[in-house]
């Protein structure tokens, strides 16, 4: 039976190999912080980390997740004090908040591979994460803040 490691816990997965990770997380593990927005990988609301890299959980199947370390927003930090989470609160980024878990996971993944991204790199990394409330200006600022810039 394949094992999927979610937020540090090993889970035996016996279901449909094609089930998107998104629905496994939400409907079976009740990790509802990861959101369904489009189902086709174009909005980023479902972003999680697969072995530390931001991926769309709506396009990642359970079989692709097998043997991998999955981190969701619930597991990004133990105390909710990841630098990205702190920056998000500092700048009061969210409006409705629905897309923000995905945005935060995307930003955390960016900063993990690039501690000091340029504005262009921030735009490139974050442009697949949609926000209908239009928080982009603050998202950009918060990524910069989390990176240690102003």
């Amino acid at each position: 039976m394949p094992t999927i490691t979610v937020n540090g816990q090993n889970k035996d997965y016996s279901g449909d190999a094609n089930m998107p990770l998104l629905w496994y997380l939400r409907d079976e593990l009740n990790l509802t912080g990861t959101k369904y927005g489009c189902g086709v990988g174009v909005c980023g609301a479902c972003t999680v980390h697969v072995d530390g890299v931001a991926m769309r959980s709506c396009l990642t199947t359970a079989s692709e997740a097998a043997g991998k370390n999955i981190t969701t927003i619930e597991g990004l930090s133990e105390d909710g004090e990841h630098p990205v989470q702190k920056a998000w609160r500092e700048l009061s980024v969210p409006q409705c908040g629905f897309c923000q878990a995905g945005q935060i996971m995307q930003a955390a993944s960016l900063l993990q591979k690039n501690r000091a991204p340029s504005d262009e790199q921030i735009v490139e990394e974050m442009s697949g994460n949609l926000c209908r409330c239009g928080c982009y200006q603050r998202i950009h600022d918060a990524v910069r803040l989390a990176a240690g810039g102003a």
């Binding site: 939400r26 990861t34 174009v42 969210p94 908040g97 974050m126 697949g128």
Partner: protein, 782 residues
């Protein structure tokens, strides 16, 4: 405490000169005067003042307002204050901002305040329809009243305990302090928790006896320092939206609905669906085919499963044949041509002032242009979803709903239950924008749960959400201006052609209704002697609904684009010309200007919220000045301006557009000024206006819904585009006018969306000499 008392000592030295005037006397003597009356401070400097209530449109809303402190506030013996927040949170921050009003007015310590989201219960809380930019506009007064009444009761309870006159006590920062006869603090204090029980037993003081905090004593209002209540939960994934409730035994479901409005299923085959792993059942949900439809459900086939994935997979395997019905001929290309032809002919006259025909006959030049706008879908990031449990003659529904009480009433009717047996829980909304005012998705979930006999989470897929919406109208607006030999506009003709929202609620006659006329059509505040507003007939072939900024989107796009176009035709500066067109400072005399008898002023009484041109001109001047209007712009860069008075607020926006080498328009900077009267939470006003620019750009550039064969052609964010970080208004500077005390609170959520589109089109013209008159314009400037 010591620190506080030291401060108090200092403050008492700045008492105001007039003494020996009792506050009670002032109340009687000055109540008839202006709305806000400054009380003379006879005690410590935490001055309090009576407020004269002013009428708002809340009186015309179902269940109006409730201002009972015991409904909204409870205080535990340990001092914890619980405030009920009765409006829906969809990103405006209102779930935080209205309780802040109460907490500030009652002198509660915000860190000791808990919020509880109200269920749908308007008889108890007053109106809960969270739309129309109404929450602050309608509830600032009752919420301040609740807070002031609770503070007064706490003070009275403390005075009784100490056996002193109430004038010798004062609530401050979660306790009531005892004063000596010189109104100096004695050092004695009772916490709110110690006073809670006694205060609750007291009669609620009448509004006219209450004294309110003066603005210089506010701790939360107008500061913008308190964070939104859900911020931490949002950033840690704990915030609960519509799909995040988990009930024991809950099933997951999706539905296939008719692709064309009014279509009926003729036959279906669910054999493959029922073989799908995880699918448990298939249920036919009968649609409602009455006209007008209201929020009636569309009907279709529901697939019930043990996961959302299984339900979606099962739905994809359904084979359904439809009779598409009468709307199958709806074709957006054809319809636009029909509307354009209609706009070329005289329509039904909605407003007439002077003699526009003579003005056009005598004109030395005329201006004329058509402005087109496509249907739009609110497309909140959270697709529609509802969770229902129906058992033992009772129903509970959890949903991201803007109108929980209207939903509750219809749920009761659909389930044939008394309303007392139906509970509607309001989750956080992952965006609303008007679509989540319509509760069809909740009724579907409840009917399905009833059939299934278990709790059901009914998820709309993104495609369902995109294709079964209540769409923002589609429109052609024709603007004509007559100009005399001195370059003065002497005649203004505006023809609006757009299927109406009212077609959803009454038999469609093809014409708009006062709420649409009132959004920047009949109330264009120009100083032009001859004006005619006409409405051309346009029948609806889909469900037309309200979307953030509603008819202001097409009206303002047309009017404010035309103003700049006319300015260019006359060789004038667009900002100066706009100010000149608005004319002298005045409150519009709407009778003299030929406004219709049924003129709709955003639901507010005109005497409370008159259209004041001085406020409109002020925001225009400030936005222009802050944006550096008139400065020399680089090649392929330009500034555009537009303004709008709407939802009892005034907004002006200057957009800086540039055209890149690849022909793509970009928006490096936006400057918006808003006068929304007495404002409460400037930080959330800024976030709303930043977002309004992004949604404005979405409407103007990217997002259009089109129909072919009666069905929506778009399906997801792959073909219904919205701005992303790769192209959005990058820096939005917001200037909030510090309106004089006593200026009534206006709306914030919607007003700034509308002017963005025209300001952008005007900026693109300034940058490229290309005039874009059709939304969505596309990001490439050809």
């Amino acid at each position: 405490m010591l620190h506080y008392l030291q401060n108090l000592e200092v403050k008492t030295t700045r008492e105001i000169a007039i003494e020996n005037v009792s506050r009670r006397g002032m109340l009687g003597g000055l109540l008839a005067g202006t709305a806000f009356v400054l009380a003379f401070r006879v005690g410590p400097a935490e001055a309090r003042e009576p407020l004269k209530p002013y009428p708002t449109g809340a009186d015309g809303m179902p269940h109006k307002t409730v201002a009972d402190p015991n409904v909204f506030i409870s205080i535990d013996a340990d001092g914890a204050v619980t405030i009920v927040t009765h409006r829906a949170e969809m990103g405006t921050g209102i779930r935080t901002s209205l309780p802040m009003v109460i907490a500030d007015e009652m002198e509660a310590d915000w860190s000791r305040v808990k919020l509880v989201q109200a269920q749908g219960d308007e008889p108890k809380y007053g109106n809960q329809d969270t739309d129309g930019s109404r929450s602050m506009r309608h509830f600032i007064q009752p919420m301040r009243q609740c807070g002031a009444a609770m503070r007064t009761m706490l003070e009275a309870a403390a005075a009784a305990k100490w056996g002193v006159d109430p004038s010798l006590v004062r609530a401050k920062n979660h306790e009531v302090i005892l004063l000596d006869k010189n109104k100096k603090a004695t050092g004695k204090a009772l916490g709110f928790g110690e006073l809670a029980e006694a205060a609750k037993a007291l009669p609620v003081p009448a509004q006219e006896t209450l004294l309110y905090k003066t603005p210089d004593e506010f701790t939360l209002m107008r500061k913008g320092e308190a964070k939104i209540a859900d911020l931490r939960d949002i950033t840690t994934g704990k915030a609960v939206y519509g799909a995040d409730i988990r009930l024991p035994g809950m099933k997951y479901a999706v539905m296939a609905r008719p692709p064309v409005l009014g279509g009926k299923m003729t036959k279906y085959d669910a054999a493959a669906t029922l073989k799908t792993v995880g699918v448990e059942a298939v249920h036919e949900i009968e649609g409602v085919y009455k006209n007008p439809r209201g929020f009636a459900i569309l009907g279709g086939i529901a697939v019930v499963a043990n996961s959302t994935y299984a339900a979606i997979t099962g739905k994809d395997a359904l084979k359904i044949e439809w009779d598409h019905g009468a709307n199958a001929s709806y074709d957006s290309v054809v319809y636009d041509k029909e509307m354009t032809a209609t706009a070329a002919e005289p329509g039904k006259v909605i407003r007439n002032q002077g003699d526009p025909d003579a003005a056009f006959k005598n004109a030395s030049q005329v201006f004329s242009a058509d402005y087109h706008a496509a249907h739009m879908a609110p497309a909140a990031m959270e697709p529609l979803v509802a969770i229902a449990r129906v058992a033992d003659g009772k129903a509970e529904v959890w949903a991201p709903i803007q109108s929980p009480y209207g939903a509750r009433k219809d749920l009761a009717e659909a389930l044939k239950m008394p309303i007392e047996n139906v509970t509607v829980h309001v989750t956080l909304l992952g965006g609303g924008f008007g679509r989540k005012s319509k509760w069809d998705f909740m009724v579907e979930a409840a009917l399905l749960a009833q059939k299934v006999g278990a709790p059901v989470l009914l998820q709309w897929t993104r495609e369902d959400d995109m294709r079964n919406c209540f769409y923002h109208t589609v429109s052609v607006e024709r603007i004509e201006a007559a100009i005399d030999d001195k370059g003065k506009v002497t005649g203004w003709r505006h023809r609006s052609v757009a299927p109406s929202i009212i077609s959803t609620f009454k038999e469609d006659d093809g014409y708009s209704f006062p709420i649409e006329y009132g959004m920047g059509f009949v109330n264009t505040p120009f100083d032009v002697p001859n004006v005619r507003c006409e409405n051309g007939k346009a029948m609806a072939h889909t469900r037309i609904g309200w979307f953030r900024s509603v008819s202001s989107i097409p009206h303002t796009f047309a009017v404010q684009s035309a103003v700049t176009e006319i300015a260019h035709q006359l060789g004038r500066d667009p900002k100066d010309f706009l100010l000149e067109l608005i004319g002298p400072d005045r409150k519009l005399d709407i009778k003299a200007l030929g406004f219709p008898e049924d003129f709709w002023n955003y639901g507010d009484p005109y005497e409370s919220f008159p259209i004041d041109t001085s406020r409109l001109k002020n925001v225009i001047r400030i936005a222009a000045e802050k944006a550096g209007w008139g400065k020399k712009m680089p090649e392929k860069h330009g500034l555009g301006i537009a303004a709008h008075c709407a939802w009892s607020s005034y907004v002006a926006t200057v957009v800086h557009a540039k055209i890149d080498a690849d022909g793509v328009m970009r928006v490096p900077e936006v400057t918006t000024a808003i006068d929304c009267g007495f404002y409460v939470n400037p930080e959330r006003i800024r976030s709303q206006l930043e977002g309004a620019a992004v949604m404005g750009m979405s409407n103007a550039v990217y997002s259009g819904i089109t129909f072919k064969g009666g069905a929506v052609e778009q399906s997801n964010f792959t073909d219904y585009l919205i701005p992303s970080m790769s192209n959005y208004p990058q820096k939005v500077n917001v200037h909030i006018i510090d309106a004089p005390a006593g200026t009534h609170s206006g709306g914030v959520g919607e007003p700034a969306v509308a002017p963005f589109c025209a300001a952008l089109a005007n900026a693109v013209f300034a940058a490229s000499k290309k005039r874009l008159r059709s939304m969505p314009m596309g990001e490439k400037v050809a």
